[in-house]
Symmetry: C2
Subunit: 243 residues, 2 copies
């Protein structure tokens, strides 16, 4: 194992390594965002061919997670990064895990879309699906942008939007249960919609997780399990990044 270059982290090669995992992560983020958009298009527009594509590309997302995480481990071994470099490697490694989960959820949406499309009742909760869908896509791109620009305010905005998505989700669930009670024959269909709503809500959670890593990256503070109000407060009082 090459352990001779301890202080190369000011060197060009180390910077290139860090830049590479960040870029790969961004590339993975772009793919995952497209998967989610396509999944929402599939359920809202009834485009089942899109759903097939999403399921086919799921493996690609999985491989990216494994490959990028492997790169991160290699950097830990070869470069022994410290401070903000170490935070970058750890943050990338955590973010790709959340991106992979988002890819999973997109795949679930596609699978349930195919089941719904076989039957009538594709119209259940269409407005909620469209609205939540647009919101979570915005959250994913917002979280990735915030990461790219090390933008804590942008990250906090995403955390804030997650609260909104949670509210939309609760309202959509109530609507769905009423629908099921009124038309019990539609229950199987409605359960598919239920899983899709759930997947959208989970995607929001993962986008929130990614944003929390932006805050960790910039300030070194682990804000997982921290309420929004506290995150906002910390950001307001602490402007210097300890790196």
């Amino acid at each position: 194992m090459m352990e001779m270059n301890f202080n190369q982290h000011i060197s060009g090669q180390f910077n290139a390594d860090l830049e590479a995992i960040r870029n790969q992560m961004m590339g993975m983020g772009g793919l995952v965002e497209r998967q989610v958009s396509a999944a929402i298009e599939a359920i809202c527009g009834g485009e089942t061919s899109g759903a097939d594509d999403i399921i086919r590309r799921e493996d690609e997302v999985d491989s990216m997670e494994v490959a990028i995480d492997h790169e991160c481990t290699q950097i830990l071994v070869r470069r022994q990064p410290a401070a903000s470099d170490l935070r970058m490697v750890l943050a990338v490694s955590r973010v790709v895990r959340d991106l992979e989960r988002i890819g999973d959820e997109a795949c679930k949406i596609a699978i349930h879309t195919l089941e719904v499309a076989d039957a009538r009742n594709t119209q259940i909760c269409q407005q909620s699906l469209r609205y939540m869908g647009a919101e979570v896509v915005k959250m994913i791109s917002g979280a990735l942008d915030a990461f790219a620009r090390a933008d804590v305010d942008g990250a906090i905005e995403v955390v804030r939007n997650d609260k909104l998505v949670d509210k939309q989700y609760a309202a959509a669930l109530r609507e769905l249960i009423t629908y099921m009670m009124e038309d019990p024959r539609s229950i199987s269909q409605a359960i598919n919609i239920l899983w899709i709503l759930r997947a959208l809500e989970r995607i929001g959670d993962h986008a929130r997780n990614i944003s929390e890593q932006v805050i960790y990256l910039v300030s070194g503070t682990d804000v997982r399990h921290t309420p929004l109000s506290e995150i906002e407060e910390q950001a307001a009082t602490k402007d210097d990044s300890k790196s």
Copy 2:
């Protein structure tokens, strides 16, 4: 930052550090396992006071994740571990994330149990809940045992059991949907049971993830997203651990 002890990883203090995070992880695992057992007891035995306790202790699980993950980062910074030491640190850091998620799911079970307990129909899917519940508790303790003993066969056994839980889950869902169609007034209640079944299925997934980290720890192979048959094959052909 103390970076003078590069080769201390054969030293007592380094070993003590590694042992400490492993022990803390095991302690967290024990707590999480108790949370899940209590949650299953609450829904199957109707013990709502147990459910309250679980929700109260959720914060404890969260803090443990943050604290242990922080310790892992500190070891990376101070010790720059390589090879199997590095794998231990990375594996612990990933396992605590899964343990935290399992804790989350136990908490969700408790919350939905309280909602169910307020009404009639606590009897829906009782047998499936009990059966799946027993299975996932076995999986958690199996995964933790496999980690403690670096036991690849034990880990593979857990991965195998996850397939079983997935089947139980699918059968329970069919049962639940039939129930809802026959008695639409019970839909709100049944949806609570649906979330509990889902939580149990997710706990199985996380126990599987933990087991995959045992395989990574021992053999250095990343088996996330690898089918069971392939994992079994790899384990059969490769007996030497590359450390």
